[in-house]
């Protein structure tokens, strides 16, 4: 930021605008203590101590605006006439007005649209019209003086807002307005709003900022139809998920609760077989193997079938994981067998491929952690998979899914749901006490960001993050011929203990819901574990036809 020394005029001749600005500034703070900041005074600037925060904020805004207005020419600075530049506050004010000026003139439509439409959008998506006027008035008064607002009504930009809380509210409203515009296929408006969101988001901090940024990016992708590069690298997603595993307890919770159910189902068996629909790094299985090894009476023979997507560089990721697990098994004395299956989609799987042995010989468990919802993208996908599962004749099926409704038919509803869900999730990451912003945290956020992008920007077969709440999964499983298995109280206890040990934030809550366990942040459940068996098996009654 350069000061233009030549332009310093004397104390006197001030044009109406800046003098009135100055006048207003002084008038607004008649008894602000009158003390100029000493440190800046030494440098020749006169800034009141009370104005410091104000000035700092404006300087930040200026920096951002300068960054975005580069094309319009930094030469604007040279043309600006400064009067009494030691008055830092007024000078920054000037500059901001200058910058806001040029950006409006070449495209008055842009400005008009946004101003017009932000207020005119009916419904609660935009801020309610009743409040907006006094709200705008207030911000004008705080941010600009009356003179500047009268000089150019087109320059009342939210850029200069100071109240971050109000910006937060406006941010949410703008997000919703933009989504609504997209819903109504009003892409021009949506485009304008998306830019607003970016500016507003930069005034926020923490979780809100990150969530808004991801949603804004996703909306922009949807509007411009720049769809995210095909997530063809599953190993990348696996790595991100590992970071997510480390940072927060959701995945650990999922593994622990599913393992408890599997353990109970395996209690009497001599040979057990687990079919993992998404092996990834195999983080769920060491704990199960350890628990089996310590079973009174000795461990059963443990067989694991891991299913995973094809790797782009043709490395056999599944075999590598299987090898590691085999080493672990050997160390703790369990008979272990592993097979890996590569499949693009679970729907491509045929149960015969898996070499399932008859139930008298081995007891089968099927495990699906976040693996079922992508099947909803293909018509018939989930039905095929569920019937495959039944053909495997499992003693228990463990399902872990996100507790959210991101698969409704209406885009706006999905958007709203997702906004709430991911805001809560990001809040929990923020509050979980990972104090120094670590790489783990950043990667976890990226992991979630990719999901956000998929929910908002993609459609059709590409939109794989089709989360559905537990109630819908329950209906689906029950219709398909499964009955619920209640997760025991020891699962609940272990889950609670796990949280106490790992989650230094005490906002996490474990909830029991009709035999299923849910982990949430404060009042919002975020993931749910449920367990299922084939209807009619346990009770000893005759096997129903579905099993044949």
């Amino acid at each position: 930021m350069k000061r233009d020394h030549q332009e310093i005029s004397g104390s006197g001749s001030n044009p109406a605008e800046s003098s009135s600005i100055k006048g207003k500034l002084w008038e607004e703070d008649p008894d602000a203590g009158g003390m100029d900041d000493e440190l800046l005074a030494v440098l020749g600037y006169k800034v009141r101590s009370s104005d410091m925060a104000d000035v700092a904020q404006k300087l930040e805004m200026l920096e951002k605006v300068m960054g975005t207005a580069q094309e319009d020419g930094i030469s604007q600075l040279g043309d600006t006439v400064h009067f009494n530049p030691s008055d830092l506050s007024g000078w920054v004010q000037n500059l901001l007005i200058e910058f806001n000026g040029p950006t409006t003139t070449p495209d008055p439509n842009f400005n008009d649209d946004s101003e017009y439409d932000l207020r005119a959008i009916p419904g609660v998506a935009a801020y309610p019209p009743v409040k907006s006027d006094p709200g705008l008035e207030n911000t004008r008064k705080r941010a600009k003086t009356e003179s500047s607002s009268s000089s150019s009504s087109t320059t009342t930009r939210p850029v200069v807002l100071i109240d971050s809380q109000e910006t937060g509210v406006r941010l949410v409203h703008t997000l919703m307005a933009c989504a609504e515009a997209v819903q109504q296929d009003n892409l021009k408006l949506a485009d304008a709003l998306v830019k607003h969101i970016g500016l507003l988001a930069s005034s926020q901090t923490g979780a809100m900022r990150k969530v808004a940024t991801y949603f804004a990016e996703a909306l922009a992708r949807r509007i411009y139809r720049i769809f995210p590069p095909d997530s063809l690298d599953p190993s990348y997603n696996d790595k991100l998920q590992m970071h997510f595993y480390e940072t927060c307890p959701y995945l650990k919770f999922a593994h622990f609760t599913a393992n408890q159910a599997i353990l109970e189902a395996f209690s009497m068996a001599n040979r057990v077989h687990v079919i993992d629909f998404g092996l990834k790094q195999g983080m769920q299985w060491p704990a199960l193997m350890q628990a089996l090894a310590l079973r009174p009476g000795g461990p059963p023979a443990f067989r694991l079938t891991g299913i995973g997507p094809p790797q782009p560089d043709n490395t056999d990721a599944l075999q590598q994981v299987g090898w590691k697990l085999a080493q672990l098994a050997e160390r703790i004395g369990i008979e272990f067998e592993f097979r890996g299956f590569v499949a693009n989609s679970l729907a491509d799987l045929e149960p015969e491929m898996l070499d399932i042995r008859p139930p008298e010989i081995e007891v089968v468990a099927v495990n699906a952690v976040f693996e079922l919802h992508p099947l909803l993208a293909r018509p018939g996908g989930i039905e095929k998979v569920v019937s495959s599962i039944k053909a495997m004749k499992p003693k228990i099926v463990t399902v872990v899914e996100q507790e959210a409704n991101h698969n409704g038919p209406v885009f706006l509803d999905r958007f709203t749901e997702a906004l709430h869900y991911y805001s809560t999730l990001f809040d929990s990451l923020e509050g979980s006490g990972v104090a120094p912003p670590s790489q783990d945290l950043a990667m976890s956020e990226l992991y979630l960001g990719r999901q956000i992008c998929n929910v908002v920007a993609c459609e059709g077969m590409d939109r794989v993050e089709r989360h559905e709440p537990l109630t819908q999964w329950r209906t689906r499983m029950e219709t398909a011929g499964f009955s619920p298995v209640h997760l025991g109280s020891n699962a609940y206890k272990q889950a609670s203990m796990l949280l106490a040990l790992f989650a230094s934030g005490d906002g996490y809550r474990v909830e029991e819901n009709n035999g299923c366990l849910m982990l949430g942040w404060h009042t919002r459940p975020l993931i749910a574990t449920s367990a299922w068996r084939l209807a009619g098996t346990e009770s000893g009654s005759e096997l129903t036809q579905e099993l044949s």
């Binding site: 704990a287 079973r295 672990l328 160390r331 020891n490 005490d506």
Partner: protein, 160 residues
């Protein structure tokens, strides 16, 4: 009869009868024979055992003996149904009892800074928690030990 750690807060049971001195002692208990030290350390609590490892190299070596830590772990935990040999064959390869205790059992038994666990009885907040571990606590800690072992194994070899 020799006492150890006179400033230890924990009440010590009477020491077992000392075996006949194998060699003439020149100075206090710093010249305790390794085996003797081991016998003595069998009776101390976790905190004392950990402190004992800070005394000298000999003490460090002795206090790190897995059998001692196995005693510390299993003395106060609920019976999880498996035999000692079975337990050893799992815990030792996965990192051992000392690690199990220091990483998982001990933090679990400390009074939590955050909201207290809903089912646990209020813990005595002084230097010596009673450290009684139920089945679920034990299982959780064992699981975490195995995960940690797997992670180390998994990631160190990936770096090659």
């Amino acid at each position: 009869m020799k006492r150890i750690s006179p400033d230890s807060p924990s009440p010590q049971p009477n020491l077992k009868r000392v075996k006949e001195d194998p060699e003439p002692e020149t100075g206090g208990f710093m010249t305790l024979d390794e085996n003797l030290l081991y016998e003595v350390l069998k009776h101390v609590d976790a905190r004392t055992l950990a402190m004992a490892s800070c005394v000298s190299k000999l003490w460090l070596k002795t206090a790190r003996d897995e059998r001692l830590w196995e005693l510390i772990c299993t003395r106060h935990w609920a019976n999880i149904g498996c035999g000692t040999q079975q337990l050893r064959s799992v815990v030792l390869p996965l990192g051992g009892f000392r690690r199990l205790h220091s990483r998982y059992l001990w933090p679990l038994s400390k009074p939590q800074a955050a909201s207290p666990l809903p089912w646990a009885p209020p813990k005595i907040i002084n230097s010596k928690p009673p450290a009684r571990w139920g089945k679920d606590e034990v299982h959780l800690c064992l699981s975490l030990l195995s995960i940690q072992y797997y992670e180390k194994m998994h990631f160190t070899s990936r770096r090659r």
